[in-house]
Symmetry: C2
Subunit: 277 residues, 2 copies
């Protein structure tokens, strides 16, 4: 039998390495200072063996103002109350295993949208994949939005004709600032509880990662040299304020992490370097 845990964990690490090296290559194209990702490992609990993760952080780059690429593999037991909300956890005596990658990038140039991506594999008595990506520009660019969604649609269609429609809808519903009655950005795709056909789902999850890597490089490169004004930058800082609002008020991952004594630094790595209200 194949070792699903080992395979997925390795994939997330490999993808992390690819994203970091590709983005570093882009970063090195502009300006002089040679930037590097700083790596930092963390353990969920030093006494217990219940996993941890590794953060890769690059700040104050010439292109990347702040980017975090996190991988983690955690396991153990959910508390009774939380366990009820997770498929197959009760049947598994509350035990779980989860591995994933999470990426958020904020750019110096306000023409480049903030980018968010994550994928994960979770096992209880069931096993499923989840994740996706979305894009938050502060300056409208319909051509860019069209490119992003077209690529996502084509990629999804290779796997299942219903994916794009369903996963786009889920993304739109989730990344919504209810108090402001406005979407967070241009949307994208999100999926969860993708179970049953493990090979199909893993293939899809791998392709989601590779598509993110490819598209992110395209989107960044296209805008690297685009001129921006002080006004554009101010607009970006305001939009980032909305980003903070979403992450702290609504994001389930953030809430889950903070409520379960996760690594604060890793959880809040998604917050922008500078934001305005």
């Amino acid at each position: 039998m194949i070792n699903k845990k080992k395979i997925t964990e390795n994939w997330f690490r490999e993808l992390r390495n690819n994203i970091c090296s590709s983005w570093l290559e882009i970063e090195s194209k502009k300006g002089k200072g040679k930037k590097k990702f700083s790596r930092k490992k963390w353990l969920r609990n030093k006494e217990k063996n219940n996993g941890g993760g590794e953060m890769s952080l690059l700040v104050n780059g010439n292109i990347f103002e702040k980017v975090g690429v996190n991988i983690s593999t955690v396991y153990g037991k959910f508390d009774e109350k939380f366990s009820k909300q997770i498929p197959g956890a009760i049947k598994n005596e509350n035990k779980f295993w989860a591995s994933g990658i999470s990426v958020v990038a904020h750019f110096k140039n306000p023409h480049i949208p903030s980018l968010h991506f994550n994928t994960r594999y979770i096992e209880t008595s069931k096993g499923w994949f989840g994740g996706g990506m979305d894009m938050t520009p502060c300056i409208k660019d319909l051509k860019q939005k069209k490119y992003f969604h077209n690529e996502l649609k084509n990629m999804c269609n290779l796997h299942d004709k219903n994916y794009y429609k369903n996963f786009k809808k889920y993304c739109d519903q989730y990344f919504y600032l209810h108090h402001r009655k406005e979407p967070r950005g241009d949307g994208g795709i999100f999926y969860d509880y993708l179970d049953k056909n493990w090979e199909k789902n893993f293939n899809f999850t791998q392709e989601v990662g590779l598509t993110f890597l490819k598209m992110s490089c395209e989107i960044i490169k296209k805008k690297i040299n685009k001129k921006w004004t002080k006004k554009d930058k101010a607009k970006q800082l305001i939009k980032r304020g909305r980003y903070v609002e979403f992450n702290l008020l609504y994001d389930r991952g953030t809430k889950f992490g903070l409520n379960t004594n996760g690594n604060v630094e890793a959880i809040l790595m998604s917050l922008p370097p500078l934001a305005k209200w």
Copy 2:
């Protein structure tokens, strides 16, 4: 019989006027540009007559980087579920009336702590006062902290020997960033559900307001000309990020406001002008 609603509503407005004019006087002492508070009224619901409020906002001052002074008087019916959490609401057919003032000030000079104050009077089948104030410096100043707490203690002791101890404790418990295991700032006092003796409680609430006004002016004036470095400013922006985290993750007023379709602008006026992560 005295009209408690009219009296408290008038008091909060009068206090708002005093705070705005005193702070404007301080603001006018530095730099050239003559700053003003911009005033903006809002209604909770344009169709229904259920109250509203007035925001006073000053931004980009030479002393005040951003300060919001809100008053509001709202009334109507709580929804069934929320009503159960509010003393005396069920017995009052879910009807409530609430008036209050809320102030948050963020300063240009990182030596001046962020200041927060609010007081309110609420009526269901019961009637009670609540509120308080706290201070969030980003650069430690033990003398300032001592002054702040001594004044609060002396003021509280004029009303009730148990107030300071109890209200300081409540403040410390409430203004705590659980995910970071750190207090928001230097604390202060907070109280709630102060009922029974209306005159005593109203007197106390008035004095809390006047004490805030007096102390805030002292604290600001003392630091106006204190030199600060780029490093101090960076420290302030990081501390403000913590402030955002508290307000969006924990603050009950923020959550209540956003969940009940309150005025987003007024509710989030507490957020700092610029914050860093």
